[in-house]
Every structure is written in structure tokens, then in C-alpha cells.
């Protein structure tokens, strides 16, 4: 089609959208039936008149148009569910309808070809409908046991060239579900560690726990590659956080030109940054000085000012936190706590970090009661017991000294005698 014709067609479709305020429900927005036209944006966008043809503030498509008909029909009418095998759920509605759901892990970082393969599967078995979960899993929905069998068989046989599963099935019930994670060295400017590589290494090692229900309760893992914590690591059963250990450097000759110095100063939560002036080649330059004694290596200054780089191959690494959770089930939500303050970066497979995570998971699995999340188990046995059972060396780094630290001190004579107490 000539571009002019396409633009006319798109205008028609836009009018249709506007007529119903985008609330496509029974029928999908016909705009998705049109193929993608690569050249028209250049025709519509005029750099000299940027407001011309500009559509703004329309939000995402109305969700109901993407619901499978059986989901729409039974919306709010589901009565029960059952996990018939790890990764496979069955839902029953009050209307008598039944659906089966297959949940698969994904690496979250993926290509359009991987998404297209998901589309192939959804087209073949699910009338084109597919859903993602909050933990980067995909869910395929089918309405019969025959389709379910064929779908599972198909998914099991899809592999990448070097043998990894494209769509491992699992993530339900008392399993380790997919890791919620962040960008790392693939795409962020502030990380202390990689994300995708660490996650791949951990999930390879914990693979059997993704596709089975043998843990005492569901176990949520998360990873954030710096203290900005784009992933929800502060409330996870076991999580990894990237940390720095060297104060930022200051580029005296550049800072004045690439940063707003007052902002860099204000960025520091501990007031460790002060303004300064230096002379370079006889010229006075504005810069800053960092009080290294005060620095807690949070990296806020670098977020605001590129002339204060903080990353360092030897200084940076992993901290492991455990015992947090989000759900209100049995006990209230709680924060994760630092148990291993530092493990060096060991690309490409981070063996030390992976070993400790697997070890913590297995000690938990061996000792916790049914339904007990990692944090509930530790609270029952006591943190001193946790350190003893896991053989994680307790260091002064696990004693809080930030805000509200006092609330974490032991202010009673209730403690257990573990190997940590040396009696003369």
C-alpha cells in the first residue's frame, strides 16, 4: 500500500478508537489486524512541527480485548484451582468451565524471535492468547486435557542450540519460582554486579527446584545489581544485592562541566560530599571532596553525577540477604536481612554465590516445617541457630548501624547456646 493510503487507513482506525475511547472489549482493536508499516512514522512526524499528528496520553490498550473468550466469560466466576503437576494448574468456574494453565520460566532478557516463538505456541494451542506473570513467567491457557498434553510435550522439546530449555515448566507451589531481577552489565550504568548472568547461573543450579514441589513452602528469589534495587529484593526469601566497597573517585577536571555540583552534594544521604576548588593548569575549577570515612558506598552520587564513578572490579560484589517475604499469609510481610556481606564478582558463573544460595536453600528445606517460609523458619529457630546450621560465618557486618539499628539488637536473655559462644 502506498504510504498515503496507509495513513488514511490509520486515521480511520484512530477515529474508531476515539469513538469508543479505546475501550475495545468483545472485539480486539482492528489496528492489530493491520500489518506493521515501517515507513509511515517518518511521514507523520515532522521535526519542525513536533506537535503535528502527535497522539498523546492514550495509555495502554484496554486489557479486556486481550482476554481469551473463556476467561472473559468466567471473569470473577472462578471457584477453585488445583496444581495438577508442577507448573500446571487447573481452574474451575461456577459455570462449569475448566481451563488448564501451563507456567514456563523465561530469562526475561530476550529477543523478538523468542517472543515470536511464544506467539507460535499461543497461536497453535491457545487461540493466540498468552499471559505473563509478575515473576517473568509465561502462562499458556488451554481448555482441554488433550490440548494440555500436546502443549506440554511441545514445550519440553523446544531447546536453544546448546541444549537449554526455552520454556521450562514449573514455578508453582512449593518451588523456587523465577528470579525477579534487574539489568546488570547488559544495560545499566550503576550496577555493582551483572544480573542476567548471575540469574542464569543460579537457576541452572536450582533447576530441579523450579520444576518440583519439594520445598517446605514457596521460595522467592530476587536479584538487584545495585542499592537502587529495581527488583523487590528487600522482601525476598533469598536475594542477591550488588554492593560497592570503594568511595567514588572525583574527576576534578571534568566535574564542573558534566555535573550540577550542588546536586551531587545534595545526593549524598550522609553528607559526605563537600564543595571544593582546585587549580588545574593555573585555572581555578569547582569540584567536590568525599569524606571517605563517612561513605557507605551507596552510589547515589554517581547516579546524579557521571564525574564521580564508583564501580570497581575488585571493590564490587554480592551481598546475600535472606528471610523476607511479601505475603500476609500466617505472619506479616517482613524484610530480608544481610547474612553474607560480601562475595567477589566471579563471572561468568559466580560459583561462590551460587554455592551459598543452594546451601541456604537446602538447609532450609531440610529443617523447616511445612508451610514455613525461610523467614518464619529462621524466626522460630533464632538467627544464631540459622548461622550455626548454615555454617555462614557471622561477622560484625551483619550488625546494623544505620537508621533504627537499635530495633535489631537483642535486648533479652533469650538466646540459644550455639557454637558461637566461647566459654572459658
Amino acid at each position: 500500500m502506498a504510504d498515503e493510503k496507509v495513513i488514511e487507513k490509520l486515521k480511520e482506525l484512530w477515529t474508531k478508537y476515539e469513538e469508543i475511547d479505546g475501550k475495545f472489549d468483545e472485539e480486539m482493536d482492528p489496528v492489530f489486524k493491520e500489518p506493521y508499516y515501517p515507513g509511515v512514522a517518518e511521514k507523520l512526524f515532522n521535526p519542525d512541527k513536533p506537535m503535528e499528528n502527535r497522539i498523546t496520553d492514550i495509555g495502554p490498550p484496554y486489557f479486556r480485548q486481550f482476554l481469551p473468550p473463556i476467561i472473559k466469560k468466567n471473569y470473577g466466576k472462578w471457584v477453585s484451582h488445583e496444581i495438577i503437576q508442577p507448573g500446571v494448574l487447573k481452574y474451575e468456574s461456577e459455570t462449569g468451565d475448566v481451563i488448564y494453565v501451563v507456567r514456563c520460566g523465561t530469562p526475561r532478557l530476550e529477543t523478538t524471535d523468542y517472543i515470536r516463538e511464544i506467539c507460535d505456541i499461543a497461536d497453535k494451542y491457545c487461540d493466540g492468547y498468552v499471559r505473563w506473570t509478575t515473576r517473568n513467567n509465561i502462562e499458556f491457557h488451554v481448555d482441554s486435557e488433550e490440548k494440555l498434553k500436546a502443549l506440554i510435550e511441545d514445550l519440553k522439546n523446544r531447546k536453544h542450540p546448546n541444549g537449554s530449555y526455552k520454556f521450562p515448566i514449573g514455578g508453582t507451589g512449593a518451588s523456587v519460582s523465577n528470579i525477579v531481577h534487574t539489568q546488570g552489565w547488559i544495560h545499566c550504568h550503576t550496577p555493582a554486579i551483572d544480573a542476567s548472568g548471575v540469574v542464569k547461573s543460579i537457576m541452572d543450579e536450582l533447576f530441579e527446584y523450579f520444576g518440583s514441589h519439594k520445598l517446605p513452602a514457596k521460595t522467592r528469589l530476587a536479584l538487584a545489581c545495585c542499592l537502587n534495587m529495581c527488583g523487590a529484593v528487600h522482601c525476598s526469601d533469598i536475594a542477591i544485592v550488588g554492593i560497592h566497597r570503594k568511595p567514588p573517585m572525583v574527576e576534578d577536571d571534568r566535574i564542573q562541566h558534566v555535573c550540577e555540583i550542588p546536586l551531587a552534594i545534595a545526593a549524598c544521604p550522609l553528607g559526605a560530599i563537600k564543595p571544593a576548588t582546585v587549580e588545574i593548569d593555573g585555572q581555578k575549577k569547582k569540584t567536590v571532596r568525599v569524606n571517605a570515612e563517612r561513605c557507605m558506598f551507596c552510589g547515589n552520587c554517581y547516579t546524579m553525577c557521571p564525574a564521580m564513578p564508583i564501580a570497581d572490579g575488585e571493590g564490587d560484589g554480592i551481598a546475600i540477604v535472606v528471610g523476607g517475604k511479601v505475603t500476609n499469609r500466617i505472619s506479616p510481610p517482613k524484610f530480608s536481612r544481610v547474612v553474607i556481606p560480601f562475595i567477589p564478582n566471579e563471572p561468568p558463573r559466580w560459583p561462590t554465590a551460587v554455592k551459598w544460595i543452594k546451601h541456604i536453600l537446602e538447609v532450609y528445606s531440610q529443617h523447616a516445617n511445612k508451610y514455613e517460609r525461610v523467614g518464619d523458619w529462621i524466626e522460630r529457630i533464632g538467627w544464631e541457630k540459622f548461622f550455626e546450621l548454615t555454617d555462614i560465618p557471622f561477622t560484625e557486618k551483619s550488625i546494623d548501624d544505620y537508621r533504627l539499628a537499635y530495633t535489631t539488637y537483642r535486648t533479652s536473655t533469650h538466646f540459644k547456646f550455639t557454637k558461637h559462644i566461647e566459654i572459658k
Binding site: P50, E260, P262, L263, P306
Partner: protein
């Protein structure tokens, strides 16, 4: 203060900051401090309208957004440094 006045005032504040050799990018909060008579929501609306008119531009610090005069101070592309002051 009506919107036109408010917009004028915002531009004046920005220019005054630059003349003083201070900041070239400022937060909504800073505008609020400089224009105490106006309500924060109106300042926000006026500043955002100035962006649409091309008289101000947004600048990302990584996690927050600031306002600046187009072409003044740190450039939008990385590695493009602000001109010698």
C-alpha cells in the same frame, strides 16, 4: 497569578539562575521555592506547557527529572559536555 504570568515567571527564574552562574537544571521543588505565591500543581502544569512550546526541556538525572533551558548546561546526550563557563 494567571498561567501566562506564571510561565513568564518560570522563565525568569531559570534565566536568573544561569546568570548567577549557578544551576542550569532545576527541580519543580526549586521553582516552587522561587515562586511562593503559586500552587505546586499550577507550577507543574505551566512548566510542562513550556516544554510543549519548546521553551524548556526535560533533563533526566537517572531517577528524577529536572527542567532546563534548551541547549544550556549539560547536554541530553552523554559525553556532550556543557560549554566552558
Amino acid at each position: 497569578m494567571d498561567k501566562a504570568e506564571l510561565k513568564q515567571k518560570i522563565l525568569e527564574v531559570m534565566e536568573a539562575k544561569i546568570k548567577k552562574g549557578g544551576k542550569t537544571k532545576i527541580y519543580l521543588k526549586d521553582l516552587q521555592r522561587e515562586i511562593p505565591g503559586a500552587n505546586p500543581r499550577e507550577i507543574k502544569n505551566a512548566a510542562n506547557e513550556l516544554v510543549r512550546e519548546g521553551k524548556l526541556e526535560y533533563f533526566s538525572t537517572g531517577s528524577t527529572v529536572m527542567f532546563g533551558l534548551p541547549g544550556v548546561g549539560m547536554g541530553l546526550e552523554a559525553g556532550v559536555e556543557k560549554p566552558e563557563e
